[in-house]
């Protein structure tokens, strides 16, 4: 199984926070959950991967390449949903469809429309008037509509109602299992992600506690749920 994302000794220092030598691998067709409490460094890792911030040291390889060696090709292969909304808010979903069609090489307009309908996102309403959950669903629709091989989701179910949340998680699982897409997902709600993730990386206060397969972890303590094991590891 090929490595889609390979992170080695990723380090980033701020005044009051330090991400210490994080290393993990995401393989093709797998869902990796990046778990940790608030402020543990999950978003810093994600932002380093997609090039929003420059790490102090360490290596990040995406599809075997550095982001800056073939930036446009790699960015075409990544679908990203961030913790805040970054698409032009003066547009409507329909006009965003046209804009993104001119931005991504493999943009599928029909797929985008299908996702909008499935997640009940209005097509002709200005994005600025959307609720937080609606914007998140729109971001997800964009991220999944340009045929990305690596999907990176930073707290993707925040602000989304239970029904849509289940639908989104089901879609992600389907993408991974049937279409062989690799997914990196961060969360601090372990219980809802427990069913879909294959591997997990737990970080706390910038330090990596463990990187392990979910099956392997659960087999090591058959009487416990993932959440219980996670809480024990944090202690």
């Amino acid at each position: 199984m090929e490595d889609v994302l390979n992170i080695k000794n990723l380090t980033k220092r701020y005044n009051e926070f330090c991400l210490n030598s994080i290393s993990f691998t995401l393989r093709a067709g797998r869902i990796l959950g990046l778990l940790g409490s608030n402020g543990s460094g999950k978003s810093t890792i994600i932002k380093s991967i997609i090039g929003l911030i420059q790490p102090d040291s360490g290596e990040i390889e995406i599809f075997g390449k550095s982001l800056y060696s073939d930036e446009l090709w790699i960015k075409n292969k990544i679908g990203y949903v961030g913790d805040d909304f970054f698409y032009p808010e003066d547009l409507t979903s329909a006009s965003l469809n046209i804009l993104m069609g001119s931005v991504y090489d493999e943009w599928e307009s029909s797929k985008f429309k299908t996702y909008l309908e499935r997640y009940n996102v209005p097509k002709k309403k200005q994005i600025a008037t959307f609720s937080k959950g609606m914007k998140m669903k729109l971001s997800l629709s964009v991220a999944l509509s340009h045929n990305p091989d690596l999907i990176i989701l930073d707290e993707p179910t925040e602000g989304i109602d239970t029904k849509d949340r289940h639908e989104i998680l089901r879609d992600l699982e389907e993408l991974s299992k049937n279409q062989y897409k690799s997914i990196l997902i961060t969360t601090h709600h372990i219980s809802e992600m427990e069913h879909i993730i294959d591997d997990l990386v737990i970080i706390e206060q910038g330090n990596m506690i463990v990187t392990i397969g979910k099956k392997e972890l659960l087999e090591s303590r058959p009487d416990c749920t993932l959440e219980t094991i996670y809480m024990d590891l944090l202690k």
């Binding site: 929003l52 930036e71 446009l72 970054f86 032009p88 808010e89």
Partner: protein, 203 residues
């Protein structure tokens, strides 16, 4: 980059339309130096507004996540500003020619000063954002203004220095190509510095 530029122009199409109409209407009635000075200030305001919009609406993150290179965002903003100021200069030169307006070509000196000011803003903007750039440039502009006033007073007592400065100004105004070349060099330097800082900026 062209898509970003078109997006920027489209977003500000109303103000740009008014800008061009304003130059066309005003330039035949004023001295070229004054009308160019006014519209170069307006072009700075429009560019700075465009920068602030990009900050306020998270456009930097958008441009960084979609298939695009950071340096293209920097180049686009420089082209946007250059387009505005060159448009003003061209329309004013046409008006000068058709209406036989008297001018010493001092507008080319203004072009260089305005470019210097705006590129200073853009470098700081790409380093840390529009609020930082605004906070940093205001005191510098004010100091320059005071400095020029004091320097003017000082020149009154030093005729040799005054002559040398006047000669320099005459060289620049006599040869428009000098001014244009200096403007292009300033633009390239600003792009290089802005790209350097923007690559390090956390979005």
């Amino acid at each position: 980059m062209i898509k970003i530029l078109l997006n920027d122009l489209n977003r500000q199409k109303k103000i740009l339309f008014l800008y061009v109409i304003g130059i066309c209407v005003i330039s035949p009635f004023f001295e070229p130096l004054y009308s160019f000075f006014i519209f170069s200030i307006v072009s700075i305001r429009i560019t700075n507004y465009s920068c602030k919009y990009d900050d306020d609406f998270n456009m930097h993150r958008f441009y960084s996540i979609v298939p695009n290179k950071r340096k293209l965002v920097v180049i686009e903003k420089h082209i946007f500003f250059s387009m505005l100021i060159i448009t003003a200069l061209i329309i004013i030169q046409i008006a000068k020619h058709y209406f036989n307006l008297i001018s010493n070509n001092y507008e080319y000196i203004i072009l260089l000063f305005i470019a210097l000011f705006e590129y200073f803003y853009l470098i700081l903007y790409f380093k840390k954002g529009s609020i930082y750039a605004m906070n940093m440039t205001r005191p510098v502009y004010f100091s320059i203004f005071i400095g020029i006033m004091l320097f003017g007073q000082f020149l009154k007592g030093d005729s040799t220095l005054k002559d040398n400065i006047q000669r320099g100004i005459y060289i620049l105004t006599d040869s428009i190509s000098y001014s244009i070349v200096i403007f292009i060099i300033l633009t390239f330097l600003s792009i290089l510095l802005s790209v350097y800082f923007y690559r390090k900026r956390e979005l």
